[in-house]
C-alpha cells in the first residue's frame, strides 16, 4: 500500500511532461513518418512486413527443394527457366544449388523470418501498448535496429548473386567445410554480424522499456504473460548472440586473414594438404555456435507461448491456470537454456562425461516447458471457449508444440541421439516446434492484434480456411519426416536418399510431403489476400473487439503514429486476466479499471 501511495506522487510530478519538446510533432514528412520512423508501431509494422516477406521467400526456397526431393533429377516445371546455368542447367537442380537453398532456407527462416516477426514485430507493436508506455525507451536505437536487420537481409539475399552463389555449409556453418567455402560464406558471416547488431539493439530496448516505462501499478506479477515471454526472450538475445558474433569474427579471420582458429593441423582437402598453420579446432565453432543456437530455440518459442497465452485467456474467458507457475517456469527456462547447448554435439567425440552433464541439463529443461504447456492446456478446462480464428490457431499450437517437444527427448539423450542424429527425425522434430508450433502462434497473433492495428477485423471464413489448410498440410509435411528419420535417412542428401538401399521403403513419402508443401503454399495465398483486403474491406470494430483485459485494448485502434499511445497516462489496478470474476457486472475487468465499488457479500 505504501508503494501505491508513492506511485501516486509520481503521477502528479511526472518528470518529463512539463518539458517543451518540439521534435515529435505528428506533422512529420513521409520519409520520417513511414520509412525512417522512430515510432514503435511503424517500426513494428516494418519488421512485420519484412519478416513476412522473408518467411514467404524462405518457404519458396524449400518448395523448390521439395521438387528435387520428390522427383530427383527431373527438370523443374514452369519456373525452371528462371535459374542460371550454374544452378539449374536445363531446369535440373545441381547438388551445389540444393546446398545453397538448404543453408539459406534455415538461415532466412530463423534469423530473418521467425525471430524478427516474433520479437521485432510483435514485441515492438504490442509491448509498449501492453505496459502503457508512450513508446520504446530508445526510439532512435529502435530505428537503427530495424535498418540493421534490413541490411542484414539485403546482404543475405545478395549472397545468391556473388560468384558460386550463397553459403552452402548449412545454416550451422560448421568448419572446416565453411572455411573452405566460396564467397557466399563470407557474405553469410557479414549478414549475421548485421543481424546480431540488430537483435542486440532490440534486446536492450525491450528490456529497458519493460523495466522503466511500465505504467504505474503495473508490477511484474501483473504483466501479461506475453510481456514476461518477451522479457526473457530479450535476455536470451542479449546474452546468447554475442558468442556467435565472436565465432563469426573468428571465422572471418580464418577466411580473410588466413588464421586457423577452426582448422586442425594436417587438414587435407580434396587430396591436397592445406597450406595452413593448423592447431585450431572445429569443435570450438560448434561450442560457440550452439551456445547461441540453443537459447535461440527458446527465442523462437517463448514469444509464441506468450501470444498463445494471451489468446487462450481471452477466448476461454477465464484467468490463465497457474500464471505464477508459468512465470517462474519461463524464468527458469531462460536460465537453463544457457547450459544445454552441447546436446547438439553428442557424436562429435567431445567425451562421455560432458555428454552426461548435458543430457542431465537437457532433461531438466524439459520440466519448465512441460509446466507451461500443461498450464495452457489446463486453462481450457471449464472455459466457455469461443472458437475465433486466433483461438483456432492458438489451440492448434498446443498439440503441435507438444509433438515437437516430446520428439525432442530422444534427441536429448546421448544413446538414442546416436541413431537419430543428422537424420530427417531431427528435421521433423524442430520443424514441429517452429513451424506448426511457432508459426501457427504467430498467425494467431496477427489475427488477434489486427483489429488494434487497423481498426478492422480480418475475414473469419478466410481465416478458418487458412487455419485448416495450414495445419493439415503441415502435418503431412512433417510427420513423414519422423518415419524417414527413424529409418535412418540422412538430412542433407540432395536426392532425398535415392542411392541408399535402406531408404527405399520410406522414399515414397517424399512425394506426399512435397505435394503437401505446395498445397500449403497455395493456402497461404488465402492469408495474403485476407491480410491486404481487410485493411480496407474488413469489418469495422470497436477498440476492444475481443473484450480483452490487457492495456493495449484501452488505447484507440490504429493509435496515432507519433510517440504517445494513450489519451492519458494509464494506471493499472489489477492483474492481467481478470475474466469472469464473480460478482462483477461484465465478464472481463480491464487492467486500467479501478475496483468496482460494489462490496462483495
Amino acid at each position: 500500500m505504501a508503494k501505491n501511495a508513492h506511485n501516486k506522487d509520481l503521477q502528479v510530478t511526472h518528470p518529463e511532461t512539463s518539458h517543451a519538446h518540439g521534435e515529435h510533432h505528428p506533422e512529420l514528412g513521409f520519409w520520417r513518418k513511414y520509412v525512417f520512423s522512430t515510432d514503435h508501431k511503424v517500426i513494428g509494422l516494418q519488421y512485420g512486413f519484412t519478416a513476412l516477406f522473408f518467411l514467404l521467400f524462405g518457404f519458396t526456397l524449400v518448395m523448390i527443394m521439395r521438387w528435387q526431393l520428390a522427383y530427383p533429377g527431373e527438370a523443374l516445371p514452369l519456373i525452371g527457366w528462371l535459374f542460371s546455368e550454374e544452378s539449374m542447367p536445363g531446369g535440373v537442380m545441381l547438388p551445389e544449388f540444393y546446398n545453397q537453398l538448404g543453408a539459406m532456407h534455415g538461415t532466412i527462416m530463423v534469423f530473418l523470418g521467425v525471430v524478427p516477426l516474433a520479437v521485432g514485430a510483435f514485441g515492438n507493436y504490442v509491448i509498449p501498448l501492453q505496459i502503457g508506455a508512450p513508446d520504446m525507451a530508445f526510439p532512435k536505437l529502435n530505428m537503427a535496429s530495424y535498418w540493421a536487420y534490413f541490411l542484414g537481409g539485403v546482404v543475405m539475399l545478395g549472397s545468391f548473386f556473388v560468384p558460386a552463389g550463397a553459403a552452402k555449409a548449412g545454416w550451422t556453418s560448421y568448419p572446416p567445410l565453411a572455411n573452405i567455402e566460396t564467397m557466399g560464406q563470407t557474405m553469410w558471416l557479414l549478414g549475421m554480424v548485421f543481424l546480431i547488431t540488430s537483435s542486440l539493439l532490440g534486446a536492450i530496448n525491450f528490456l529497458t522499456t519493460i523495466i522503466q516505462l511500465r505504467a504505474e501499478g503495473l508490477t511484474f506479477m501483473r504483466f501479461p504473460f506475453f510481456v514476461w515471454a518477451q522479457l526473457i526472450t530479450s535476455f536470451l538475445l542479449l546474452l546468447a548472440f554475442p558468442p556467435l558474433e565472436a565465432a563469426a569474427i573468428l571465422q572471418l579471420m580464418d577466411r580473410l586473414a588466413g588464421t586457423s582458429f577452426f582448422l586442425p593441423s594436417g587438414l587435407v582437402v580434396s587430396g591436397q594438404a592445406m597450406d595452413i598453420t593448423g592447431g585450431g579446432s572445429p569443435l570450438l565453432w560448434q561450442h560457440l555456435f550452439w551456445f547461441l543456437a540453443h537459447p535461440e530455440v527458446y527465442v523462437l518459442i517463448l514469444p509464441a507461448m506468450g501470444i498463445v497465452a494471451e489468446i487462450i485467456a481471452n477466448n476461454t474467458r477465464k484467468p490463465l491456470w497457474g500464471y505464477k507457475a508459468m512465470v517462474y517456469s519461463v524464468i527458469f527456462l531462460g536460465f537453463m537454456s544457457f547450459i544445454v547447448w552441447a546436446h547438439h554435439m553428442f557424436i562429435t567425440g567431445m567425451g562421455t562425461a560432458i555428454s552426461a552433464f548435458f543430457q542431465i541439463t537437457t532433461m531438466i529443461i524439459s520440466i519448465p516447458s512441460v509446466i507451461i504447456l500443461s498450464a495452457l492446456f489446463l486453462s481450457l478446462w471449464g472455459g466457455s471457449i469461443r472458437f475465433t480464428t486466433p483461438m483456432l490457431f492458438a489451440l492448434g499450437f498446443l498439440p503441435m508444440f507438444g509433438i515437437g517437444g516430446l520428439t525432442g527427448l530422444p534427441l536429448g539423450l546421448a544413446p538414442t541421439d546416436i541413431h537419430l542424429h543428422d537424420t530427417y527425425y531431427v528435421i521433423g522434430h524442430f520443424h514441429y516446434v517452429v513451424a506448426p508450433g511457432t508459426i501457427l502462434a504467430l498467425f494467431a497473433g496477427i489475427y488477434y492484434w489486427y483489429p488494434k492495428i487497423t481498426g478492422r477485423s480480418m475475414n473469419d471464413l478466410l481465416g478458418k480456411i487458412h487455419f485448416w489448410g495450414t495445419i493439415i498440410c503441415m502435418n503431412f509435411i512433417f510427420m513423414p519426416m519422423f518415419i524417414q528419420g527413424l529409418a535412418g535417412v540422412s538430412r542433407r542428401l540432395y536426392d532425398g536418399g535415392q542411392l541408399y538401399q535402406f531408404a527405399q521403403p520410406v522414399l515414397k513419402w517424399n512425394e506426399v510431403m512435397s505435394i503437401a508443401a505446395w498445397i500449403m503454399g497455395l493456402v497461404q495465398i488465402v492469408f495474403i489476400v485476407n491480410l491486404f483486403m481487410s485493411i480496407r474491406k474488413g469489418k469495422k470494430v470497436t477498440e476492444n473487439p475481443w473484450e480483452a483485459t490487457t492495456l493495449e485494448w484501452s488505447a484507440t485502434s490504429s493509435p496515432p503514429l507519433a510517440h504517445g499511445n494513450f489519451q492519458s497516462i494509464p494506471r493499472v489496478y489489477r492483474g492481467p486476466y481478470e475474466y469472469s470474476v464473480p460478482g462483477n457486472s461484465r465478464d472481463f475487468a480491464p487492467q486500467n479499471e479501478p475496483e468496482e465499488k460494489v462490496p462483495v457479500a
Binding site: 522503466q212 598453420t277 585450431g280 560457440l288
Partner: protein, 205 residues
C-alpha cells in the same frame, strides 16, 4: 507524450533509462569478449606449446613475442584515462563545465595515445614478418587486441562528440548531459577493464 525517465530516475527502480541500457549493453559485451577469451583457453589447452612455432621460429614464452614494457605503458595510459573521465563527470556534477572540457579532452588524448602505441606494436610485429596467419597465438592476439582497439575507437568517437558538438546540451538540459557523460564513462571503464584482463592473459601468462 514524451518518453519519461530520460533525465530523472524512475523512483521505484532508482535509475534513468540510459543507465539500464548501458548496463545491459555491457552485459552483452562481457559475453562477446567472454566468447573470445573462452576460444583462447580452448585453443591454448589444445596446443602442444604456447606460443609455439610462429613463422618458422619456436617461442617459449609470450614475452618473447610481445613487448611487455610497452604493454604496461599502455595499461597505465588506459587507467589514467579512466581516472580523467570520472573527473570530467564529477566536474559536471559540481557545475564546472570548464573543468569538464579539460578532463574530457585529456581522456580523448589518452585514448589516442593508446592507439598510437598499439599501432607501433602492430607495426613491429608486421616488420618482423609476424602476421595473424602465422600461428594461433598471433591469431588470437591480433583478434582480441584488434576488437578491443575498435572499442577504443568507438569510445573516442563518442567522447569527442560529447567534448565538441554534443556538449551544447549542457546549456539546454544539464542533468541529461551529465547522465550522458556518466553512461559514456561506464562504457569507457569497461573498455579499460577488458584491457586489464587482456594484457596479463596475452602478454604475461
Amino acid at each position: 507524450m514524451d518518453i519519461p525517465y530520460t533525465a530523472t530516475a524512475r523512483p521505484d527502480t532508482g535509475v534513468y533509462n540510459a543507465k539500464v541500457g548501458i548496463w545491459l549493453f555491457l552485459a552483452s559485451e562481457v559475453m562477446l569478449f567472454g566468447g573470445l577469451f573462452s576460444a583462447y583457453i580452448f585453443l591454448r589447452i589444445g596446443a602442444p606449446a604456447w606460443p609455439g612455432m610462429l613463422g618458422g621460429q619456436l617461442y617459449k614464452t609470450s614475452f618473447d613475442v610481445l613487448n611487455v614494457p610497452i604493454g604496461t605503458f599502455n595499461t597505465m595510459i588506459l587507467i589514467a584515462s579512466s581516472v580523467t573521465i570520472v573527473m570530467s563527470w564529477a566536474s559536471l556534477m559540481m557545475n564546472d563545465f570548464k573543468k569538464y572540457k579539460r578532463y574530457m579532452g585529456l581522456t580523448i588524448l589518452c585514448g589516442l595515445a593508446f592507439l598510437v602505441v598499439k599501432a607501433f606494436e602492430y607495426n613491429a610485429k608486421f616488420s618482423h614478418g609476424l602476421f595473424p596467419a602465422d600461428g594461433n597465438f598471433l591469431a588470437i592476439y591480433f583478434t582480441l587486441t584488434g576488437l578491443h582497439g575498435l572499442h577504443v575507437v568507438g569510445g573516442i568517437i563518442v567522447n569527442s562528440y560529447f567534448w565538441g558538438p554534443g556538449s551544447k546540451m549542457w546549456k539546454t538540459d544539464p542533468k541529461r548531459f551529465t547522465n550522458r557523460i556518466e553512461v559514456a564513462g561506464l562504457y569507457w571503464h569497461f573498455v579499460d577493464i577488458v584491457w586489464i584482463f587482456l594484457f596479463p592473459t596475452i602478454y604475461l601468462l
